[in-house]
């Protein structure tokens, strides 16, 4: 276990170090995360998230866990859907991201059905069968042990519940792929430097996207963790994919 390594962007780091290094990246970008997302994706990330929430099928009175919920984008929409009788729990490993999200949601008047938990997705601190739905948007690629995280999500999900993973993936159109490469390795770090004054963190974001399993690999990871009826939807030509699986 001690010699085991994993990737941190294109860099190989000790297995136990990744969590700490990722923590450093998000501590650094938390303040300007929303702005950067808008600039980087030309605002399209809002449409991706909206699509994910629509496909979550969440209804009034349900209990939802929004993992890597950071700045509360998904939770804001989800809290509206579950209503006063339901509950949205925002889980994030990073304290800085959680507090930015909490401030933001309180400013929007959303406080009575949202809870915050600082938690590691690999060891979710909830009893079995706790949630009707789990969402994780742009978070899974930063988790060191993805299989373990998926298993942990499977455990806390109620039978009949569903998991939605929104994550960067592999573009399916060849022409798009070239433009996308140029964009993520040249333009993205430059924007990171200009807007967030943090080139290296944004270089990590671009690299970590490339190291993340593609559509089919992630689907099979979900199936290995026990999820059934797994499927994925390519968004924006596969730049982002939404995976959905059920626990029965």
């Amino acid at each position: 276990m001690t010699n085991k390594t994993t990737h941190f962007g294109y860099e190989q780091v000790a297995w136990s170090d990744k969590q700490h290094r990722v923590g450093g990246v998000f501590d650094s970008v938390a303040g300007s995360y929303d702005l950067m997302n808008d600039v980087m994706s030309f605002g399209v990330h809002r449409l991706w998230k909206r699509f994910a929430v629509e496909r979550s099928g969440v209804r009034r009175g349900q209990r939802v866990l929004d993992l890597a919920g950071g700045t509360g984008d998904l939770a804001e929409r989800l809290s509206r859907l579950v209503g006063k009788d339901g509950e949205v729990v925002i889980g994030d490993i990073n304290k800085a991201m959680l507090s930015v999200g909490r401030e933001r949601l309180i400013d929007h008047g959303i406080c009575d059905n949202v809870r915050y938990v600082q938690a590691n997705a690999e060891n979710l601190p909830f009893p079995e069968n706790s949630f009707d739905c789990i969402t994780i948007a742009f978070g899974l690629r930063n988790v060191t042990d993805k299989s373990r995280a998926l298993e942990s999500m499977y455990t806390v999900l109620k039978p009949g519940g569903r998991l939605l993973v929104l994550e960067f993936s592999k573009p399916v159109l060849p022409a798009l792929k070239q433009a996308y490469d140029l964009y993520s390795f040249r333009v993205l770090p430059l924007m990171g430097r200009l807007i967030a004054r943090d080139e290296s963190s944004y270089r990590y974001l671009a690299e970590s996207i490339r190291m993340h399993p593609d559509q089919k690999e992630l689907k099979s990871l979900m199936e290995q963790a026990g999820f059934e009826d797994c499927e994925y939807f390519n968004l924006s030509g596969g730049i982002v994919a939404l995976h959905r699986g059920y626990r029965y």
Partner: protein, 218 residues
């Protein structure tokens, strides 16, 4: 992303702007908190889901549950529903309630909780968007007011020329081409038909009476 999701996002933003102008409408939205209204636009194969709440109306392109109310109609039908009820005040005395007519005439079909559907329609048609005020924030009052005058003149011109065109066309069809009868001619014709019907009725009664008289004699 489906076109419905993208359209839903755009509609939601527009509604947000729209509702900000009208605290009354926002209160009505809050009363409908938790309701889901589906709008099926036939012909386009498009369904949108409206979820009102205290902070406005959320719009979704996909919803898995069963909505409380479902409105189904063609784009034209919905346009009539929306426009009709906006003109309701001024036209009620002339033509009844056009917005409701669209419902009754089957242009828009309603399923489920009709009261929710009606409330929802009232919210949407009740908001009168003051775009001149919005424009004035960008351009200043003077330009916005001039633009407003121009738009009002254009609307008046369109309305007047529309009326003139309608009059001219009906005059041509009725008087020149003689393809359609004038209203008064139709009136006379219907009166004649009525007269003929009563005459035939009287004749039938008379023949019946004569037959009866012959039968009793023989």
């Amino acid at each position: 992303m489906t076109p419905a999701s993208t359209l839903a996002a755009a509609l939601e933003t527009a509604l947000e702007l729209y509702l900000k102008q009208d605290p009354g409408a926002l209160q009505q939205c809050a009363k409908m908190d938790g309701k889901v209204i589906a709008v099926d636009i036939t012909g386009l194969g498009l369904s949108l889901y409206f979820i009102p709440g205290s902070d406005g109306i959320r719009v979704a392109g996909y919803y898995e549950g069963e909505p409380d109310t479902r409105l189904r109609g063609s784009p034209f039908g919905f346009a009539r529903l929306a426009l009709g009820s906006r003109e309701q005040g001024e036209l009620r005395s002339k033509r009844g309630r056009p917005g409701v007519d669209a419902l009754f005439e089957g242009a828009v079909e309603i399923q489920g909780d009709t009261e929710t559907g009606q409330q929802f329609q009232n919210i949407l048609s009740g908001v009168d968007w003051d775009w001149e005020e919005q424009l004035s924030k960008l351009t200043g009052d003077v330009i916005a007011h001039q633009a407003g005058n121009l738009a009002r003149k254009a609307a008046r011109f369109a309305n007047d020329s529309g009326n003139t065109l309608r009059r001219d066309v009906s005059e041509y069809l009725q008087e020149e081409a003689r393809l359609l009868p004038a209203r008064i001619e139709v009136g006379y014709f219907l009166e004649d038909v009525d007269q003929l019907r009563t005459d035939v009725d009287r004749m039938t009664a008379r023949v019946d009476r004569l037959l009866q008289a012959r039968d009793t004699k023989s």
